[in-house]
Symmetry: C2
């Protein structure tokens, strides 16, 4: 664009990319924001779409609409297929090549099956709206198939759900699945007994929500069990097929065990976006790009990596977790450093400000750790609700989500219980 | 089900089937309602989902939830593949055979390409939520592809939209497409001029909304043109491909004409559900089942056909139109006749009560004919809004739809502008 001193490309319209783009508003750089989706996704509520509590548009805002008024910004809907850091060029599939003066890579993470990609068909993960609608479809269909079963054993298989991985997403999914089974669907089926529904949360480590203080993990597990979830820790998954999962032996004294479940949801592994490899710099074990204190990569002071794709260790030796507040802070820092350099000022080091962490479990259940304060149950849930609605992008969506929740809370109904996109029978 | 005097099967959970099922509440018959979707769809607002104004769940209510409290009713999620009127058996794919004492067939209509099924890939029709999401995806993608075009001619092709058929659905679609182009998307693209968007409504007959009084048709056309729609009447489509439509010659003096449009929507033809053929009785030209005065078919006094699948001519010689009020009235009449027969009373003849007709055109534009009263423009639109929100199934959905509309009206935003389900590039 003419009249601007530099061209900044931002790859990814997630929390980090969006913050960086906003920070560059009213500056004298032209910004190009590239995303392969046309919407920003409020990922912390994606599990609500997957469990039919919210509609897809409720947690997605069109990127063009967000930046409608930001005249120095151009949105490109497309997939970045290559980055040439030597020539300073980003290539977008079916669209073209774009030269940059500074680049912010914020393409995030995806789920990983740890080399077992064949599991994907049996145990979908949850990263996009398409993922969420597929999981919703599977959950709702499982009950329909159970209802039509005449064979009791097959019916039990359709009524058995497993969630693999007890991080925040796995815990939310398992808790909400229990709410659906024991509250929402009550009285709706004539041929199945909802007391037979079995929801198992399978975790390889020794406790749920391992990133939280142990007493909150214990509280979370209690809350899950109260909702009806079977929590299995120290249970490593060694195989997944159409009928269930195999839990491998952890020691010589245990034997592999088959856990029947026609519906399996993968919430276990996260892998950094493959774009990290394009930068030609060292990656950590999870495929994340190791960045310096100013969030740039080695030898390329004009290339910033932020958010879930970045591996950052502060001067205090602490690593920054892959959460949305960290991505937003990095986005602001990277944009700020670009403007500082442009104006001949030195870069600032990134300092992560940890506001605490929060995980929801189900209806009126959650845990929160904010500084020294630790909350559980209803107060934690209210706090979680407030924070999530507050940070939702756009006033409109906030209103929609609040209405939907208030309704769901009072009626136990779940709004978005529609089966669509049935392309193949399972 | 034990304890009931008869078993009634209803095929289809549309307006007709739902009314019949509700009417049979608190009676001593067991009811089985079979639908291949898990939700009742409020079809009059489907075009709003297709044009990103509403989310899919806003106009769909889970059938099981609707009948949660109706203990004599069993819902089967499945597709009816055969009806044996001699043996009184309905066969559901992957599920089983069900014997009935009385049957109500309410499986509706689908769109028809008049024998040109190859057009379906280029010009999707609008009957299900999956259809609506596909059309929404195409509309939104067309603008994205136009934005990335460097060739001006190709860009114009992506900015050209055609709607075929100027019945109520075609008029709504064309009007809303104009609203999107000239209002919603303003300021969001950097590379395209929205004034170049061309929306053409193509109609074979000599006026839009042919079922309405001529003065309302004229008003509707005026309102469409004011919104920016190009209305072409007396234009019969003879071919459709990936680049546009061919309008065939109507007389010796006109020549076939190619109208470029990368996005084409089919709103022209309706065909009755293929289940009509299963009944072994005479069908009319549109494939509808000709029913008697009591809505039963010849020689099978226990088989009722209602709604869009029924061809009914009253004692006054008037045929009943394929609209939702007619379907609902037929549903109540058929259910009532089943109960009458059961109690040894004579059947009643169906009498269609015409409350008038309504069509919306776009933002604050509509026409209405209620008895002798004819409304146009804003008053008609307010009336349309009231009627449609009032008849939406379930208080919850009504609230959601009203909020969404109020928001859209004030801000010109369209809520559900998200591209999902991109399975193949166009």
């Amino acid at each position: 664009m003419a009249g601007y001193r530099q061209h900044v490309i931002i790859i990814g319209g997630g929390f980090g990319g969006l913050e960086a783009a906003k920070k560059l508003k009213s500056s004298d750089v032209a910004v190009t924001l590239i995303d392969r989706a046309n919407h920003h996704l409020f990922q912390p509520l994606l599990y609500q779409v997957a469990t039919a509590g919210l509609s897809s548009p409720a947690i997605a805002a069109p990127i063009r609409q967000i930046f409608q008024k930001q005249k120095n910004l151009n949105v490109i809907y497309g997939e970045v297929v290559a980055i040439d850091v030597a020539k300073k060029i980003v290539s977008v599939a079916d669209t073209g090549d774009y030269a940059y003066d500074a680049l912010i890579v914020a393409s995030g993470a995806t789920h990983s099956y740890f080399g077992n990609d064949q599991w994907a068909q049996y145990a979908p993960g949850l990263k996009t709206l398409d993922d969420a609608q597929e999981i919703r479809r599977r959950i709702l269909l499982a009950y329909e198939y159970a209802e039509r079963c005449t064979d009791l054993e097959e019916q039990q298989a359709w009524l058995s759900f497993a969630v693999i991985g007890a991080g925040p997403t796995g815990v939310e999914m398992a808790g909400t699945l229990a709410e659906i089974a024991y509250q929402t669907l009550r009285d709706e089926f004539r041929n199945i007994n909802l007391d037979h529904v079995r929801i198992t949360l399978v975790e390889g480590g020794d406790r749920v929500l391992a990133a939280y203080p142990p007493e909150l993990s214990a509280s979370a597990q209690q809350q899950l069990e109260k909702l009806g979830v079977i929590v299995r820790t120290k249970s490593q998954v060694s195989d997944i097929d159409a009928d269930g999962i195999t839990i491998g032996k952890l020691s010589e004294s245990t034997r592999p065990e088959f856990l029947q479940a026609k519906t399996v949801i993968w919430a276990a592994g996260v892998a950094a976006s493959p774009l990290g490899k394009q930068l030609g710099v060292p990656l950590d074990r999870a495929g994340r790009v190791v960045v310096g204190q100013d969030l740039t990569i080695p030898n390329h002071p004009d290339v910033y990596v932020i958010g879930d794709l970045a591996s950052f260790t502060g001067k205090d030796g602490k690593t920054v977790p892959g959460v949305s507040p960290a991505a937003k802070q990095m986005g602001r820092c990277a944009a700020d450093n670009i403007l500082r350099k442009l104006n001949g000022r030195p870069s600032q080091s990134f300092v992560y400000k940890d506001y605490g962490s929060l995980a929801t479990i189900g209806r009126a259940s959650a845990i929160a750790a904010v500084g020294k304060l630790k909350l559980s149950g209803y107060p934690a849930w209210l706090f979680w609700l407030f924070v999530h609605v507050y940070f939702l992008i756009g006033f409109r969506n906030r209103l929609v989500v609040l209405t939907d929740w208030a309704w769901a809370y009072w009626t136990y109904e779940r709004y978005a219980r529609i089966i669509i996109g049935v392309r193949k029978e399972r």
